[in-house]
Amino acid sequence: MDARNFTYMFYGFAAAWAILALYVLTLVARERRLRKELDTVRRMVEQRESKAT
């Protein structure tokens, strides 16, 4: 394989994968945060429902 400009090609691929990885990480972080929020709100609803009845 022609090896001219190999370094920058590597940078290019690295950049593409890095951006994808970053996005996947933000998705994972958001998922975790949303699940926590969901649990908190569910508990809040149960609390208030039991207080109301």
Binding site: D2, N5, Y8, F13, L20, L27, E31
Partner: protein, 228 residues
């Protein structure tokens, strides 16, 4: 979509990408002038195709939302825009790195690149607008309108190399020129990678859609909790 299906599709996308990488590096001939750097194009062009597909779907979903008022279209719109924006950034980064070697500059203000940047900015603005509106119905409605406006920039970016003389290479793919401008093996690799990346993008969109549904559930439960 079920977790298992999503996971399976993700694995399939990964396998396809790995197979493509193998063919890219060991199966394809070298390009005459560019050296190794030309292989970046196999990520650059498919990324832009994926991103345009995403934005097109977002535009269609926005129109459908305005017509039917079904919130699932709004969820689809925001998910495809977000994933599309990620691929836009990949397209810009890979293109810029390629340009650094081939043209000697990171950036130039020709029609294609300028419009690509404008597209990126407009859809980033779309996500900003969504964050700024609290009421879900207004948010869906207003961002749908913005999405329809934003799609015009995608059309112009795509057609830019036909309408203007650009530093960006002109049309070489056979569906634009009628054939003969590019080695068929390389062109088929482009489409293969487009397929693989599109599959990957579909998985990401599905995950994002599920998160958006979760977020809507959190919002509505919070409203309910404050009401009782």
């Amino acid at each position: 979509m079920r977790e298992k299906t999503l996971f399976a599709l993700g694995v399939l996308a990964a396998i396809w990408l790995v197979r493509n990488l193998y063919v890219m590096f060991l199966g394809l001939p070298d390009e005459a002038d560019q050296g190794a750097i030309y292989r970046i194009l196999f990520f650059h062009v498919p990324s832009w195709f994926v991103c345009f597909t995403g934005y097109f779907l977002a535009g269609a979903a926005s129109v459908l939302y305005l017509a039917r008022k079904n919130p699932v279209y709004d969820v689809l719109a925001v998910s495809t825009v977000e994933v599309g924006l990620a691929f836009t950034l990949i397209g810009l980064a890979t293109g810029s790195i390629w340009a650094r070697i081939i043209w000697g500059i990171w950036w130039t203000w020709d029609a294609r690149l300028t419009w690509a940047l404008i597209t990126c900015l407009i859809y980033a603005g779309y996500l900003m607008l969504r964050n700024a509106i609290d009421d879900p119905t207004t948010r869906a409605k207003n961002s749908a309108v913005l999405c329809i406006f934003a799609f015009t920039s995608v059309v112009i970016t795509y057609k830019a190399i036909d309408w203007w003389r650009t530093q960006h290479p002109g049309a070489v793919l056979s569906f634009r020129t009628g054939g003969g401008a590019m080695d068929p093996g390389m062109e088929s690799m482009l489409y293969q990678n487009f397929g693989a990346l599109l599959l990957l993008a579909a998985v990401l969109v599905a995950v994002r859609m599920r998160q958006e549904q979760m977020r809507r559930e959190v919002e509505s439960m919070r409203r309910y909790a404050h009401a009782i």
